[in-house]
């Protein structure tokens, strides 16, 4: 598939996703070593996007499992379609079938609802499995996940044991909402994504907001980079930089001054207190 980190980097770039050399190296290694890739970093740096672009670049289907507290096997792995099974039982009864026959007929793939993990196992090398915000799930689910990511097989007692023919590409993301287990961490190859450097962010803006003047883009990026250093409730993510740049372009603004910031701050910052704080402590605007 990929023969070098460079290839990944170029592939990502074709889908407008710009990464460091070191990022592409780590992604390359996760694929080559057949290990899950655990991506950590602050919100909005493109952790989920990385999985999405990886799927696009490799031409695979993205199967996403969003984690939350209380997520369990029936929501993540599989579930029997009870309603449909019941209907089948009524049907079979009216035809006077024996219990054995009924039993056999209702536990077949037709009545199995595949959830993301099972889907990914069955799809094998046709998919990228994204397990998003794994730190939000609870410990029971984590151990269960560890088991799946070790053996890549699950058993459905009524049906069969299903083993992935090819190990799917797995990407886990975490915001470090909760410290999760050592064992799961050890299974993974680690990638820390952080906010881009000024230079990278400028490239992203120029790439994703066509038509923007370079000097304005430069000023936008400098400003955003500076306010990320202030302690805010929610530091602006890359997406917000882009939204802001688009807004300024749309409004035909060529100069960044305090008036412009006041009028458009809502695009960049999501809390009133953050806006006030940036106005007071942020980089000076004329």
């Amino acid at each position: 598939m990929f023969s070098s980190p460079e290839e990944i980097r170029n592939g990502f770039a074709e889908h407008n996703f710009i990464v460091d050399r070191s990022v592409s190296t780590v992604v390359y290694l996760a694929i080559k070593l057949g290990r899950p890739l655990l991506v950590e970093g602050p919100a909005g740096v493109g952790k989920t996007e990385l999985a999405r672009v990886l799927a696009l670049t490799t031409g695979r289907e993205l199967i996403r499992l969003q984690c939350y507290e209380g997520l369990d096997e029936s929501k993540s792995l599989y579930e029997w379609n009870y309603q449909k099974q019941l209907l089948r039982i009524y049907m079979d009864q009216s035809q006077h079938k024996s219990w054995e026959e009924i039993q056999q007929s209702i536990y077949t793939e037709e009545f199995l609802l595949q959830r993301p993990l099972l889907k990914a196992l069955m799809a094998g090398n046709e998919s990228v499995l994204l397990i998003d915000e794994v730190d939000k799930s609870d410990e029971e689910f984590e151990s269960f996940l560890l088991e799946i990511l070790s053996d890549y097989q699950i058993s459905i007692p009524e049906l069969a044991t299903i083993k992935a023919r090819h190990i799917p590409m797995v990407v886990l993301t975490s915001n470090n909402f909760r410290e999760f287990g050592d064992a799961l961490k050890r299974r993974c190859i680690h990638l820390y994504l952080d906010y881009p450097t000024s230079e990278q962010e400028l490239n992203i803006v120029l790439l994703k907001v066509p038509g923007i003047r370079e000097d304005l883009a430069q000023k936008i990026v400098e400003f955003v980079q500076a306010i990320r250093l202030i302690k805010l409730k929610k530091a602006p993510s890359i997406a917000e930089t882009l939204n802001w740049a688009e807004a300024l372009l749309e409004l035909n603004i060529t100069e960044l001054d305090s008036e412009v910031f006041k009028d458009t701050a809502g695009v960049l910052l999501k809390y009133k207190s953050d806006i006030e704080q940036v106005a007071a402590q942020g980089p000076h605007l004329s």
Partner: protein
């Protein structure tokens, strides 16, 4: 010169000595990873980091050790957030989840001794104590080098605080004298830390 495999294994053991829990399977992964991407700094560094380090907080100790052990001249980690072990103490490090929260007894923006400590008692401090205890001169020299490079970025007031704490640390391990001897004529002891 030892073969590379051996160096990587030795490096992993060294990480362990500094309290980073590295398992056998991680070392095996690291060896495989390096054989896949080769020895360019931009590939070699992330290959070791992504296989050997499981906690973000261990990255800066990894970075320091990596530089010493593999004799790297570059001061910047390829992964930006690996962090400079001697970063400016004024920069509190932003974190969306923590913003707005102020610990009891602290006021935002003021570098209290407590905060200062949390900055310094991190990895460089640990490295320092270890290095002294084990008479690791390579490490001492490296720390000194880093400290001198970073001395410019530190606010004078913080510098004073930092020096104070380092002094306490030195005294607690009975090392104040030894340091003078070690660095006499090489660097002024003052410049060695901060």
């Amino acid at each position: 010169m030892k073969p590379l495999e051996e160096r990587i294994i030795e490096f992993s053991h060294r990480l362990r000595r500094f309290g980073i829990n590295v398992s056998h399977s991680q070392i095996v992964d690291a060896l495989k990873a390096v054989s896949l991407v080769g020895l360019t700094y931009d590939d070699f560094y992330p290959a070791l980091a992504c296989t050997l380090i499981k906690e973000k907080t261990d990255l800066s100790i990894f970075h320091s050790l990596f530089r010493i052990y593999f004799n790297v001249k570059s001061t910047k980690p390829p992964m930006e957030d690996a962090g400079d072990p001697f970063e400016d103490v004024n920069n509190e490090g932003y974190d969306g989840r923590e913003s707005g929260r102020v610990e009891a007894g602290q006021s935002p923006g003021v570098v209290t001794e407590q905060r200062m400590k949390s900055r310094i008692t991190g990895e460089p401090y640990l490295l320092l104590i270890k290095a002294v205890k084990e008479g690791d001169y390579d490490m001492l020299q490296e720390l000194a080098h880093q400290a001198v490079e970073n001395v410019k970025g530190i606010h004078p007031q913080n510098l004073e605080n930092a020096r104070e704490l380092v002094k306490k640390a030195q005294m607690s391990i009975g090392w104040e004298k030894a340091m003078d001897e070690v660095f006499e004529g090489v660097l002024s002891p003052r410049a060695v830390f901060f």
